[in-house]
Symmetry: C2
Subunit: 226 residues, 2 copies
Amino acid sequence: MTGWEEIRDEVLRRIRARLWVPGATIPTEEALAQEWGVARATVNRALRELAGEGVLERRRKVGTRVTLHPVRKATLDIPVTRREIEARGQRYGYRLLAQAEAEPPPAVALRLGLPPGGRLLRLECLHFADGRPVLLEDRWLNPEVVPVLPDFHRISANEWLVAHVPWTTGDIAFSAANATAAEARLLDLAEGAALFIVERTTWESDCPVTWVRLAHAPGYRMHTLL
Amino acid sequence: MTGWEEIRDEVLRRIRARLWVPGATIPTEEALAQEWGVARATVNRALRELAGEGVLERRRKVGTRVTLHPVRKATLDIPVTRREIEARGQRYGYRLLAQAEAEPPPAVALRLGLPPGGRLLRLECLHFADGRPVLLEDRWLNPEVVPVLPDFHRISANEWLVAHVPWTTGDIAFSAANATAAEARLLDLAEGAALFIVERTTWESDCPVTWVRLAHAPGYRMHTLL
DNA sequence: GAGTGGTCTAGACCACATA
DNA sequence: ATGTGGTCTAGACCACTCC
């Protein structure tokens, strides 16, 4: 019992063995440090890790408890589409369908926190895997963060943004939707096919950057370990 | 510049200000500790945090770099269905549709790593929000981990498992699917409606526990901050 | 061999929540 | 007022990896 990882594993073992049951408080850092003959900081590191994973709940003065109603946290890796497709061993393709300045629908302006009536750059693109269309992208871009327009026929907006405006914040939502007639035509599907929808809003320190809706063709799965 | 959070924020600021550009190595922990007048451990804590978020890449002897091809990590909170519905201010309801011992389909046995021909406990349940069906659950449960059967009419399998077999590992996948005729009837939808599908496989230290498929009615959104 | 991050220690003080 | 976790320090040694 020398490193914080061993300590973390031992704590997990005791929880799984029900020596420490959900809702019960476990010994203090000080007590555990003495029991295992390590510094308190080492115990702290292990317990902090487990608290971050949702296994433990820690409160000053109260102590450390095994979480009673665990909320499982799944961490998703969200790569750039091209890398995601290439990681599956498929050939990536990309086509810009439309690029125009336009007034965004109210819902999009609202998400970005922009006043109605402004104009944004709209991009519509199709992504291919081994030549088959698999992803339809509908993007609205704030022209203020794109002073010099790249050629979006050659590089996808997402890749350009990742390289030029990295380390943004934002939010992301997942849902399902039936393909409209237009979507079905572009993705070569039957109308009404179930699409996996990803919506992302992106900011760079209080400045709205982009809103995008990604419609994945059937067969797409987002997978992760718990 | 006294705490590790301030240091983390300053590092982020320099990256966003492009003082440190993606791909470039930043100064060593030692140098930053001297610059800011703190202990190296404090700088380490801040940089370790950012490396965990994917902002930095750290390698011994090489140094710390700003990530060139960032993979965004989204952390999803996956609560128990009842709590998720109640958190939206809706009334939760639950009905057990079927409970029987049966041989699972090969795909399910495969996921759980069980030999074909074994028998599992199958549960089919419907979850309601304000009286409307919103979620259809199809679950296969390893009877070995459920020696004493609770009354699944009263408590959902998920809640029972969370309370009695917490801190499992597993994996989870998200996709979209069109409602079959049977699913549409149970969820009170038109056939073919786009369902948001969550599939989970759960283990408790090498012992398969359960496989479950959750079919969410249209309107369901899974949301998180980036 | 040498430079970098990874970790541990022993001690200290602080922040916070409860009593 | 007190007990708990949260953090910081100064120093040390180790692990990895490039040269």
